[in-house]
Amino acid sequence: MIPRFISQEALKEWVEHLITQFSVYAPVQEKGDYDFAKIAHAEEIAFDFDRTRMSIKGFFLKPEEKLMSASASKGDPVASSPDTSKRIIFGARPCDITALNLTDNVFVKDFYDPYYMKRRQSTIIIGIRCTEKCRTCFCGTMDSNNPLTGYDIMLTEMDTGEILIQAGSDNGEKLFRGSRHLTRQSSEEDQSLILKTFKKITETFTPDIPTTGLKAIIDLGRTEFLWKKYEKICLSCGQCVFVCPTCWCFDVKEIVGADETDFGNLDKTARIRRWASCLYKDYHTVSGGHIFMPTVASRLENYYKHKLRGIPEKFGVWGCVGCGRCVSTCPVGIDIRESLKELTGD
């Protein structure tokens, strides 16, 4: 599709139109921060949001979900079906879309995860490109400010206030059919405006920390000083993991009395999956009591090396998208930007 333009007012009108067809989730202001919530009117959208408190991963990997039901005595496991009604996430930031591209790969590679993927396939992503850095941004460093896939539509505010619409998929193009009257076609005269805006964006998101040598430094193994330093303050609380768009650790457990309509019936079992954190000690504790990563330092090492070494090796991208949510949430002030600087000697 040739990019089109829409005015800020017309954009709201278009969102109103989308709400009549889909469940639309967008950033709203809540308790002094921004969060994605289902909206009934375009007016609810906090268009001035920088980034939301939580990423969009919870739309696909639910904080808690039932994977299957079974009978304790007879077995007969039956897989749960995720809700696949069509929905729109409006206002996903480029870093979150970059993270989504990663988790899409994770949940398809080797074994297909039907729960994640069915939700993913029934969700339309409308991204809003950042034109300035958010409170904790270092996405330029982590190469995540300009995802090339993972969205159906990307919106970019031009210097003039008008918004450029780019389709990222056939679904994205379809979404605009019928609403073309709200938009205007771009022409050759718009070229300089588009170039100027994108040049400014590119400059805003140039890397702050050099990461070229990171792999070599980690492989050299001279990283222990950092884990030892953080071990003294890290609480192993796992908050950084929960807010992280590229953390997908989960626990799986079996429960009884799992049928809400027949609660006393202990024969009704379920398999539950819920978010977990590799920073927890019990995450690595096996039956018999052995703990495979007994120290906070060993768990921090695993956490950082997964993001900076393991994920790049397996998936070709950093396991950090530079949103800095972990920086905002960490109760003791551990800052991954400082970690990167210490590792790279910057």
């Binding site: 994977l67 299957m68 079974a70 009978s71 304790a72 005595s73 007879k74 077995g75 007969d76 496991p77 897989a79 994770v106 949940f107 590679k109 080797d110 074994f111 297909y112 995860d113 039907p114 729960y115 193994g221 997908w248 650790c249 989960f250 626990d251 799986v252 457990k253 079996e254 429960i255 009884v256 799992a258 202990l266 024969d267 079992t269 398999r271 999956r273 977990a276 590799c278 995450y283 690595h284 504790t285 096996v286 039956s287 018999g288 495979f292 990563m293 007994p294 060993s298 090492e301 695993n302 956490y303 950082y304 090396k305 997964h306 993001k307 900076l308 070494r309 393991g310 090796e313």
Partner: protein, 281 residues
């Protein structure tokens, strides 16, 4: 192989058909179901056993396709799942997912002499290798199997071990860490390394070592073998970790942020395991 779009989190059912006491803390459960009869598995792989409503546990496969039926050997560690399993009866239902993980590359070992080192219940996954090799005896050279347990009462599958001892084309050595006077025996007493220390074949490069046991044993066994001229890439180990999904998603068994024991292992060379800090913890 599992079909790509099948749901990998859902087990299939199997019925317990027979339960055998292996020793005071371990039992073998014979299982049967139509899906199980179709399951193709190789030495070194593992399965996930579900007790519905209680939990799921990763268990190394000790069975081989050369035996009738399918059995899993399970030690009661005191954990939720294994202790519950030990109360189950013939006719009860469990769930099975698998086979999972990479097997020992038995074909790559063809033409080599093999040393099997079985420390404690680490014997069980190696048992599948030994049985595989015996069924393809002409493909492999000399065979030596070393078994070590804490005391004589803890040996399992003793009849099988003794049948291997009686073979002319295979050597077997057993040891116990210690034994009391009334319960002692006339074979070796001492740590498993007391036997590997004495294993000094003329051409160590012709040997492959398959080893399973508690991770701490790998360090000492590795040192003992290194001293006798074996390098870490000849020594294969099977690692244990906390596991949940078994399919490389949940991250529980990730070592050093880079390797999944469930997908990249559980079988590694000792060299690979050493290269991952914490790999042998």
């Amino acid at each position: 192989m599992r079909k790509p779009r099948e749901n990998p989190y859902i087990p299939f059912d199997a019925t317990i058909t027979k339960i055998v006491d292996l020793n005071e803390e371990s039992k073998s459960f014979h299982l049967d179901s139509s899906e199980l009869r179709k399951m193709i598995y190789q030495p070194g792989q593992f399965i996930q056993v579900t007790v519905y409503g209680v939990g799921e546990v990763a268990i190394g496969i000790t069975d081989t396709i050369y035996d009738e039926g399918f059995e899993v050997a399970i030690r009661n560690t005191g954990g939720r799942v294994t202790s519950y399993l030990h109360t189950m009866k013939v006719g009860d239902i469990v769930g099975i997912r698998g086979p999972l993980g990479k097997p020992f590359p038995m074909d790559d070992f063809k033409g080599k002499n093999l040393l099997f080192i079985c420390a404690g219940i680490g014997f069980w996954p190696i048992r599948a290798c030994i049985k595989h090799v015996i069924n393809h005896r002409e493909d492999y050279g000399k065979l030596l199997a070393i078994f070590g347990v804490r005391n004589p009462s803890l040996f399992t599958y003793t009849d099988e071990i003794e049948s291997w001892m009686s073979r002319e084309d295979m050597k077997v050595q057993r040891t116990v860490d210690s034994c009391s006077d009334e319960d002692c025996w006339d074979e070796n007493v001492g740590l498993i390394t007391s036997l590997t220390d004495d294993f000094k074949p003329q051409n160590p490069e012709d040997w492959i070592i398959l080893c399973c046991g508690p991770p701490v044993a790998f360090k000492f066994i590795g040192e003992s073998l290194n001293k006798n001229g074996f390098n870490d890439d000849q020594i294969w180990v099977s690692l244990e970790r906390k596991m949940k999904c078994g399919i490389g998603k949940c991250n529980h068994c990730l070592i050093h942020g880079t390797r999944y024991v469930c997908m990249d292992g559980p079988v590694f060379t000792l060299g690979e395991a050493r290269d991952m800090p914490g790999g042998l913890d």
